[in-house]
Symmetry: C2
Subunit: 147 residues, 2 copies
């Protein structure tokens, strides 16, 4: 398993750990981003690679299956108006997916969360890690282990 | 096949068409975005659905395989420092993936392209549709038709 001692996503979980297997883990994003977009998760590859196309086809399918299970869990428990998915990694080139619930009245909608804020949004209820973990477990239990 | 008569990605290709199958198409992005990030492509789902998790597992794998074939084609022909992938759709809720080559000296790096520009970047050579199409064809020929 390739790791990099200078990489923060090799050194630590990168958020509150909700689930993991041999290929990737799901973490809950905290701080201001987590408060603004309750349920915001990241799916972080275990291997230190920068790009999805550097994974084997099987591992890439697995990572995407976990991303989509996370998306389904969020659609079920926070009922957002939209889900945004992104793998950027310009600052931390260790493959990780942003799975971000969006609402029409959130601080940035319809712009991406990395653009300038559009408004002061009213606070939205937080989503506890246990609730997220349970919803994820339900969605991930329907996945097969083979790509 | 679900379509929506008010949707611009149901009504038109959404860019210069490079490749298509029954599930999705790949288009080259033109205009200022295409000029700033030469090789920028979008992979657009044929069905009018907003979210990846609304597709069947097979169609979702197929779309991701095409996204990753596009990523590989770009890595080969434009050799970017990073690839950014995103499915947002807040403005046009018809599933489409951004496949964006990034360079350390581009206008926005390391920020996402939707954030404020970081600098005036010097123009980068354009990438012709034919060259992209050929590289895509090579990458897509290695995919099997089954998910």
């Amino acid at each position: 398993m390739a790791t990099n001692q200078d990489c923060e996503l090799c050194a630590g979980p990168g958020g509150e750990l909700l689930w993991e297997d041999d290929v990737c883990r799901v973490v809950r994003v905290g701080g201001a981003e987590g408060a603004a977009f309750p349920g915001y998760c990241r799916v972080i590859c275990r291997q230190h690679v920068a790009e999805m196309s550097s994974l084997s086809a099987g591992d890439a399918h697995r990572v995407m299956d976990v991303v989509l299970a996370t998306e389904r869990a969020l659609r079920t428990i926070v009922e957002p108006d939209k889900i945004n998915l992104a793998s950027l990694g310009n600052l931390v080139p260790h493959l990780h997916w942003h799975v971000i619930p969006r609402w029409r009245d959130d601080s940035h909608f319809p712009a991406p969360i990395w653009a300038a804020a559009q408004r002061n949004a009213k606070p939205r209820p937080a989503v506890g890690g246990t609730r997220l973990q349970q919803a994820l477990k339900t969605e991930l239990s329907t996945l097969t282990d083979t790509p």
